[in-house]
């Protein structure tokens, strides 16, 4: 099976879960639309899976560049890991510091000089602080680590 078929299968599974959860709802008004959407989604997902399985035979001959898929997956996973690390940093040390660290480290890892990386990191952190925190009065997250260590406002 192709990965697009797996996606359609995942949607079908979601539709089935939706139907089950909707049937468990006690209020008719609350359950009507989720049930209708769930059934519609299940039917269209089944139609998609059938269409994809029929198409499979005709597309099997299409050649893909050897190794291109694994390079793509690696690239996606690396980007995802960077983003999740950034989120963890925000949670732990707050926006201002996390932005400086994230931008600096990303640029440094991608072969930029220390001065350029640090300057852009500071610029991005300073810009976000100046615009969002100072000018717009947004209460940027301070980071649980900094709050517990230095007693900053949460």
């Amino acid at each position: 099976m192709r990965s697009s078929t797996y996606f359609a299968l995942a949607v079908l599974l979601l539709a089935i879960v939706t139907i089950i959860l909707s049937l468990r709802m006690t209020d008719f008004k609350a359950q009507l639309l989720p049930l209708a959407v769930g059934i519609g989604l299940a039917l269209s997902a089944i139609a998609r899976i059938v269409a994809e399985l029929r198409e499979r035979g005709t597309r099997e001959g299409v050649a893909t560049k050897p190794g291109s898929s694994s390079v793509m997956v690696k690239s996606i996973l690396t980007s995802g890991a960077w983003l999740i690390s950034f989120f963890v940093m925000i949670y732990l040390i707050g926006f201002s510091l996390a932005i400086v660290l994230f931008v600096t480290s990303y640029l440094k890892v991608h072969h930029r000089g220390w001065i350029q990386s640090a300057a852009l990191g500071l610029l991005a952190g300073g810009f976000v602080y100046a615009v969002f925190d100072y000018a717009l009065g947004l209460d940027l997250h301070q980071g649980v680590l900094l709050v517990s260590l230095f007693g900053l406002r949460p």
Binding site: K29, A47, I90
Partner: protein
């Protein structure tokens, strides 16, 4: 257009109740299949997924919580800003890392100037589409409660529907740019008219403007068009002049702004990620919005990779909640009889026309061939 249509629009808006809003939302949903661009099942799946996600949280009419799994964060449902950021921004960013930069080769100054002029000429080449999309944007902007976001998609849908090359939509085709952008600009005029003439803001920006009116002692409503007609005209002219100034600035800066497209992904990825995550957090100052962005980004990336329509998902997400709310309010107030109200019937006929357009066109062609 706003200036000329004031009396007509006031009467039109006053005739719009909950049943008419419901029918209009249904018309928007009918466009979902068109946004699927190529595959009806993929378009349907995308739209239905969007509607399903919009149902998370409290149900407007009963107060019952759905698909929240006891999480208080989900009681208010998924917000539009983190949802949109996750659906479009992050998948494009991850894609950008693989491509290294948006555009590969820097164009010469002369080529850029030519491209800019071509863009201007394209608007006149597709003037009928531009005009139609403006009308669609204006009408949807006038109707309070429908939200200007729908105008863009409905205009895009009608552009696909009437195009001679619908299969090329989604590939950067110019008609796909003109239609939503024209509607996007036109909806502001319509929204302003509704705010001034009826005191009903059609968007968040208009709600702020309404607050400003009240703060300086002006009461928006039909009286604004009689007692303060000069001020009302002034507001519309300001919108027109603002658009002209905005277009001039964009035209002058385009050749410089376009250079961002040639910036290496090494710079774009961290800087854009920062703004995406800060933008998501800024909405209600909620850290969990960033988690929503990540979850939706996974869905968005899969949809992009497997050729599903993300605009259809977004349209379903925007309209799903409104569809359900207006349906039950209409049923409670008018019973099933709301379906035979004149405007509702006209819109339902349009829904039927949009949904069966392809079948009807094929049928007519076969009929003409026989004769």
């Amino acid at each position: 257009m706003a200036l000329a249509l004031i009396p007509m629009v006031v009467a039109f808006t006053m005739a719009f109740g909950t049943p008419e809003l419901w029918a209009l939302v249904l018309l928007g949903i009918a466009f979902i299949g068109i946004l699927g661009a190529g595959s009806v099942t993929k378009g349907l799946m995308s739209g239905l997924l969007g509607i399903l996600i919009s149902l998370i949280g409290f149900q407007a009419n009963t107060g019952a919580s759905r698909f929240t799994f006891g999480t208080t964060f989900l009681y208010d449902g998924i917000s539009l800003i983190p949802f949109t950021l996750g659906l479009f921004a992050l998948p494009e960013l991850i894609d950008l890392v693989q491509r290294k930069s948006v555009a590969q080769q820097l164009k010469l100054e002369k080529e850029l100037k030519q491209d800019l002029m071509e863009g201007v000429k394209d608007t006149f080449r597709h003037f009928w589409l531009f005009f139609r999309s403006n009308v669609v944007g204006f009408i949807i902007g006038v109707i309070p409660g429908i939200g200007g976001d729908a105008a863009v998609f409905v205009a895009y849908g009608q552009a696909v529907r009437t195009s001679k090359r619908p299969e090329r939509f989604g590939t950067g085709i110019i008609e796909g740019v003109i239609a939503p952008e024209a509607a996007n600009n036109a909806k502001e005029g319509g929204s302003l008219l509704c705010t001034v003439a009826l005191g009903l803001p059609g968007s968040a920006a208009m709600a702020v403007l309404l607050g400003g009116f009240i703060a300086v002692g002006l009461v928006p409503g039909p009286g604004m068009l009689t007692e303060h007609l000069d001020l009302s005209f002034n507001l519309f002219l300001t919108t027109v002049i603002g658009n002209i100034i905005g277009a001039t600035i964009c035209f002058m800066l385009a050749r410089y702004v376009i250079r961002i497209a040639y910036l290496s992904a090494d710079y774009m990825f961290p800087l854009v990620s920062v703004f995406v995550l800060v933008g998501a957090f800024a909405h209600h100052e909620e850290l969990l919005n960033i988690v929503v962005v990540f979850v939706v980004a996974i869905l968005g990336y899969c949809m992009k990779k497997f050729g599903y329509s993300r605009p259809a998902l977004l349209l379903g997400f925007i309209l799903g909640y409104m569809f359900e709310k207006n349906l039950f309010i209409s049923l409670e107030i008018y019973g099933a009889g709301f379906l035979i109200r004149p405007i509702v019937m006209v819109i339902l006929a349009l829904v039927l026309l949009v949904s069966t357009y392809d079948l009807m066109r094929a049928g007519f062609r076969r009929l003409f061939k026989q004769f």
